[in-house]
Symmetry: C2
Subunit: 137 residues, 2 copies
């Protein structure tokens, strides 16, 4: 089974070499084996681990959450409830951010509608958007 160099591992897992080195540095990935030339040599286990990490990141889990999920995958002493709790915590954060962004969308769309209805391309300082933004919250 030939080993993969870092660029190939990156291509296999949808990331890039600096990010892989970063993950190794912060301990998310184990230190890689090296070939005779000192270059990193990866195997299928590394592909699986990095795939998992990238998936977690895609779903927005923080590096620290990923770290604990990775630990859970390796520990039969731990309960599945731990993974569920990490996911639940993240879901709450996603929902909070969703609500925040909905409010922002409404406000900004409202600013633009007001500008369209009343400014007609007048001077910048008189723009309804800028006037709205100048009001204390």
């Amino acid at each position: 089974m030939p080993h993969l160099r870092i660029g190939a591992l990156a291509a296999r897992t949808g990331t890039n070499a600096p990010t892989i080195r970063y993950y190794e540095e912060i301990g998310l990935l184990r230190p890689a084996d090296r070939d005779a030339g000192g270059q990193r040599a990866y195997g299928e286990q590394d592909v699986k681990r990095l795939t998992f990490i990238r998936r977690c990141r895609e779903f927005g889990f923080s590096i620290e959450q990923v770290r604990s999920l990775v630990a859970l995958v390796q520990d039969r002493e731990r309960s599945c409830m731990d993974a569920r709790n990490v996911a639940q915590e993240h879901l709450l954060a996603v929902r909070a951010k969703l609500n925040e962004l909905k409010g922002l969308e409404r406000s900004i769309a409202g600013f633009i509608a007001t500008c369209d209805a009343s400014c007609a391309g007048g001077p910048g300082p008189d723009c309804a958007i800028l006037e709205d933004l100048a009001r204390p919250s």
Copy 2:
């Protein structure tokens, strides 16, 4: 009219002193006048400017967008269309992020539902969430 010190300005505008110093450093706020003791002395114009900046930040405009909005407020040669365009660009970004988060919410909620239905607190490594996360995207 008595001047405000930095803490008072921060309290008036819902921010804190290090953030104000930061804004001065990056040029969003003009360099403050100083009293005889070398401490920053702010007036009502500064309150207005910082209020505007904080409002823009509350609505999620980036520092660079805020910088251009601030420039627009001061320039009657510029058209209100410029402000509208900054807002529109930001609205598109907010909508993109909203869609992304909706997808995340659905996926993560689905993971949790699957775990609830099939894991029953089994060992971590067997958790449906972790198995889902281990699959290539």
